[in-house]
Symmetry: D2
Subunit: 308 residues, 4 copies
């Protein structure tokens, strides 16, 4: 998604290492060789193409970095460095109740091309640094508005929290309902200020026939999506009752002596032991574990990787 | 700390399993045998004694559960079931940069006595259910006030966040300073309304010569400590810049090809690579990893396990 | 808008005085006579018609109160009791700088019919108490969604606050801009989750061909509009710098000795004395004065007079 | 309390009018004549002495403004310009229910000396501009800590809100109690982080034997007192139910036809009409009227008139 942003008090061309950005090493007739790095790229290892854009304004001094283009994700010479996520090792415990929601987890990587080759017909910006401001300004509303996706993630968390409140026998209490309503309210506020539903509805057609969504509402979506998932996650931990973080693992659950004790004590208001433990596991995954990265931290930063 | 609270819509004696609470199985002349369970006990596996109290009011119908006493932590017949924490496996990677702050991590366990034996001189309440309300009311202010300890944890997190902001070259920007100030303000508000510093200062001496701290201020401490660490953690993730959750592991750092790339790109505004990675690791531990359990979830629930 | 809600712990027919609600005194062939009271009716003294609806569910016991109809606002026998608003007397100082934004102020009244006469063709519900739940459920989304209007009021307040920040010479400071942005963000969040723009966009056509807006988004609009105007108003007072509440009146401004002193000292960063005082006056009106009633308190309560 | 702060982007000696600050016009052997202005001075018209301090750091260029001293409040040649407050005219309706809490209202004035005369033994700083930073740093913790006083004001508002909730028949509802608890929590947080109670408890003795309270906790007190009274006031308006701003005046209450209607309809859950109206009046005074200036706006600004 973005460059390494090493020393953010300096301009692009003033960084200690040029490689903090992608830059042109050698332009030929047909191709352009670039070097450098891209950080925090969500989902790129399961993509077909990488489209590398710029997320900051560049000046004339940064001209060599004004390169935008597309390249197949499996092109030669690209190193992907996979980020380590919270509780990632247990994701590999296939089929275990501890493994968590591994089918739907996101990942983020660093991308390091040894020598990145753009063929000319797939280069969209080549040294035209003066177009970096409008590029950032047009990309940003699209990107921010896309964070509507987090509301689907929140729906899963809110539903699970409602279920565990029910299993705890407290779902009808006024203060529990108030918190479930507040979770929903925060989530629907993101939804309302985001999709169609405001930013899209107020969009306009540009000269190019492209539909451009409204940037003010997209900004509001970003402001809200950097905060509300954290509040929703905190309310989920509040309502689940601490067990998600003190719960024994599958080894204890399957143990001949200890397992029956746990199943007995964590029974909830009916015999729904397994559902209860699954619900707790999902809340843990989404608020502290492998899914928290995508739901929380990425909402915080992804929503503002570009600052127009 | 507390009982299993299985179905919270029912009274103690109405639970499906009596074992959700400790209860008297067999009182003899010299000893009392109890059975049942205790949950979420922080730090008990490195304690010498377990002092088991009650955290709810009991009625005459719950008389058999009104048992309070002390027992050596290594007494025969106690099963400790250790909770699984976020990112706990990597805690075992001794000496690795990924292992995190394992020297200072907390743990929580379930305690299941097969037959718990109190000797009579270590029993402090025996069926006197009518004293459970004052017991809860007196224990609660002490317990809530003790959450002052979280402010020391916050200090570590705020300091680390300040350091990473400096390494990112942004610490002098007005909006970064505002957020560091807000983290401090939230933390000092807990401190001020808690230790000495309000609850203790307004304490009073009881007939027994015991100093009793002020319950209103202790309550305020609890309200704040269930919320502010989450806000402080969110601000820490905000300021660190996403790398804490996308950062490669020690395996990549030590790899002959990839390691030098990472060290180069994550350099920050000086050559303090290692400090930067350590700071990021600590922020991850405290906001999503093994230390988050104690800093966040336990602050939420520990501060209110007893509701007077 | 609503009934007197005197003792809210009792059902309609259990109130001390039947007159707390409108109720049928005497149904004739052609007309229905009702008595009772309606409270908090915004803008009714400059309306042509009063359409009286119900804002609570009624049971069979409350049947006599299930009366909905229309009546000309100037019909005989209606007493309007005008509410007293904050700083209302100075509204009558016509032409004075102290009078405030009196041209655009709202008002609220109590409506007391001595004997209210509905002609039959203008009665929309007559004892069909079983339709009061759907009536409330359909009216509520419309009503809540209409609170989009407050965002226009906020725009005036945000613009004025920006102007006074400029006149104070501080508008370019980072923390001032942050607060102006936050005011805008809160306001656009209401806008986005409300008009069209979410609730309307997600509306649906009912069997009757009436377009019904989405109730979840309308609820979110209500939740936000009961809180955010208070936050925006607080930020406006923050940024204006206290002078709005300590500013002398027109009498001092026009006084031969004192007037020149004030004009000199309140000059701002250019000679825009009058603009500065006008801007301060408007902020006072909207946050504490005659306009605060409509902007703040009515947003709080109007948005939820009906609770489905 | 403070100078006029006209154009805050300029230093003291760069302001358009020197009179924005007090400055030395003519130093004689025995007395010093100063001119200029002081703003927002709370309570000075009922004080015996004015002690004029500096609330900003001065440089060598601002030397003429580095004058601190004491003068009798009734000295010749001082003009007091009384600020106009929200709903102030009705304060003069002596004995009326509409007059509000006029016995305990604050006031703020501009102070303009034609020629201010300090006698030498009452001058505490005379051109020693280099001591203005420590002066500000020492004054600030005292001043901020003094805002503990607002918690007493909040107590009145919380009590009144509790009373009106009772009269409305809703005080036992869970969500009403939650809001009353939140009001108390916010207020006690100010109290705890402020008096003794933290800032004072952590104070230290200076070389001069003066006790200096802790500046961090005083800062926290200021941060909280600039925000929480607004939240408490908003909750008070929430719970009172809108009537405070739509309530008729004493003229209607005393009117032969209308008065009995109002008394009948505003009866609450018992016949406590008068108490109900008085409680509503007090809430209006404290959140929008003449007492709101001291409780809200002054808390916002008074708590930070000096920025160290």
């Amino acid at each position: 998604m973005t460059h390494a942003k090493d020393d953010r008090s300096k301009a692009t061309h003033q960084q200690t290492y040029l490689d903090d950005f992608l830059y042109v090493v050698d332009p030929n007739d047909d191709v352009v060789f670039v070097s450098g790095i891209r950080m925090h790229q969500i989902g790129c290892v399961n993509s077909h193409w990488l489209i590398v854009i710029l997320t900051i304004r560049l000046s004339v001094h940064d001209k060599d970095f004004a390169i935008v283009g597309a390249i197949p994700a499996n092109a030669d010479g690209i190193t992907y460095i996979y980020g380590r996520q919270s509780s990632d090792i247990r994701s590999m415990e296939a089929g275990s109740i501890d493994a968590g929601n591994v089918e739907f987890v996101s990942q983020e990587v660093m991308i390091v091309p040894s020598r990145w080759v753009y063929t000319n017909h797939l280069i969209f910006m080549d040294a035209e640094y003066e177009f970096t401001p409008p590029m950032v300004e047009h990309f940003t509303p699209y990107h921010r508005y896309s964070f509507i996706c987090k509301t689907g993630v929140s729906d899963v968390l809110i539903g699970t929290t409602s279920q565990i409140s029910d299993l705890n026998g407290v779902v009808k209490l006024s203060h529990i309902k108030d918190k479930l309503v507040e979770m929903t309210n925060l989530n629907e506020t993101i939804w309302g200020s985001s999709l169609g539903l405001a930013s899209a509805y107020e969009g306009r057609e540009m000269k190019s026939d492209v539909q451009m969504n409204d940037s003010i509402e997209a900004y509001v979506c970003k402001q809200n999506v950097t905060q509300f998932p954290y509040e929703i996650a905190s309310l989920a931990q509040d309502l689940e009752g601490e067990l998600s973080v003190t719960m024994p693992s599958k080894l204890e659950l399957e143990h001949s002596d200890v397992g029956p004790l746990i199943r007995k004590f964590l029974v909830g208001h009916d015999d729904a032991n397994v559902n209860r433990i699954k619900a707790l596991q999902l809340i843990k995954d989404m608020t502290l574990g492998v899914n928290a990265v995508g739901y929380l931290t990425e909402s915080m930063h992804g929503a503002r990787d570009t600052e127009p």
